[in-house]
């Protein structure tokens, strides 16, 4: 059961949530690429999109913003 409400800035896609969850765990771009079986450039592309959507200046800020929005599991 989830009680998540829509917020401004656009929801993350499920792929973006997967990427950000791995970022939050301190996994490197190459490690994320291996885990999700995509190229490191695709990972960088996803991270740039995540920072944009969450209006975050850093990876750490993006993680906290996504946790606040109920988009990541703690």
């Amino acid at each position: 059961m989830n009680l998540i409400v829509q917020q401004a800035g656009g929801r993350l896609t499920s792929r973006e949530r997967e990427v950000l969850t791995l970022v939050a765990a301190g996994i490197s771009n190459k490690g994320i690429a291996r885990e999700l079986q995509v190229s490191p450039n695709t990972v960088k592309f996803h991270i740039a999109a995540i920072l944009e959507k969450l209006d975050a200046a850093s990876r750490a800020e993006a993680v906290v913003a996504a946790l606040r929005r109920g988009e990541l599991t703690l």
């Binding site: 998540i4 969850t21 850093s58 750490a60 906290v64 929005r69 703690l74």
Partner: protein, 308 residues
């Protein structure tokens, strides 16, 4: 005349202090023209600023003993501490000791980093010092430290020492151009976990959260000091949260008797707890307080719960 002026003495002592600390520093090359700083911590492990590594899993490290490629063995975005493993066989460096006194506002500090070309030195002062705090990055930091100094980006990850030469913190950029210090105690918590496990184990609770904004009447009735409270928006299957009986709609008020002010403070408190730790969660369900016991699991990629 063979007298030494006070200024000459001052100048010599400054450069001697910097020279004594420089062997502890390393430079980390980020591309051809950019670098950041780091410091040897204990044994083969060195630390630097996590955010600046931008997801690298290996970096080029330059120190007074030459160049080497070093793996990034841990990257803790919440505290901004990344741990690098330098070549085995290098002389062991003792960890900076937890020496008193703690830095106080106004105290002088020396900040020593390194670029590809050699040591970088800056002198400054403690602009603000305070008790333990939670950073905007969601990290539990042992002491709030802000510095006043004229430095550039190459100093990110540099060591900050008091004027007796005791290493007190790592320099990291803060909001609005401020210079923050990650205290030695917080760095050591991350390094010690890496020494014990070979990597940094992550705690996993298994909840999704949302801030819930309370009206003044409810706030007063529940005796909350902050306007928002962390509400459980979802519980992951087979998670510690589910095992403990947490449910969507529960409001998290305290962990082990420490008040949870909002979502960020919950993130910091959980993030600073090791997997396997047993916690008493005080929640409010249907307006009534109750306490649930939960044992944190270790986060695994399989638990990434990306899609829904």
């Amino acid at each position: 005349m063979n007298t030494t002026t006070v200024l000459q003495q001052w100048s010599r002592e400054r450069s001697a202090l910097a020279a004594a600390l420089a062997p502890r520093t390393v430079a980390i090359a980020l591309g051809r023209h950019r670098s950041l700083s780091g410091m040897r911590w204990r044994g083969p492990l060195a630390v630097t600023a996590a955010e600046a590594l931008a997801g690298s899993d290996e970096v080029l490290v330059i120190s007074d003993r030459g160049e080497q490629r070093a793996p990034v063995v841990a990257c803790d975005l919440a505290t901004d501490v990344a741990v690098l493993r330098l070549d085995a066989g290098q002389p062991l460096s003792p960890a900076p000791a937890e020496e008193e006194p703690a830095l106080a506002a106004g105290a002088g500090v020396v900040i020593v980093g390194r670029s590809q070309r050699g040591p970088l030195v800056g002198f400054g002062a403690v602009r603000a010092a305070g008790p333990a705090w939670r950073s905007r990055r969601g990290g539990a930091i042992a002491q709030r430290l802000e510095f006043e100094a004229a430095l550039d980006g190459r100093f990110e990850g540099a060591l900050v020492a008091d004027l007796a030469g005791a290493v007190k913190a790592m320099l990291v950029p803060g909001p609005r151009g401020s210079l923050l210090g990650i205290p030695a105690a917080t760095i050591d918590r991350v390094v010690a976990a890496v020494e014990q496990h070979g990597y940094l184990p992550r705690p996993y609770l298994g909840v999704r959260l949302q801030p819930l904004w309370l009206d003044d009447t409810t706030r007063a009735r529940w005796q909350r000091s902050t306007p928002s409270v962390a509400a459980v928006a979802g519980v992951a299957p087979d998670s510690p949260a589910q095992a403990a009986g947490l449910a969507a709609g529960d409001l998290l008020e305290a962990i082990d008797g420490v008040a949870v002010d909002d979502v960020e403070s919950l993130v910091a408190q959980i993030g600073a707890s090791a997997p396997g730790r047993r916690l008493a969660l005080r929640v409010r369900r249907g307006g009534e307080p109750q306490t649930l016991e939960v044992t944190l699991a270790e986060w695994r990629p399989a638990q990434r719960q990306g899609g829904r």
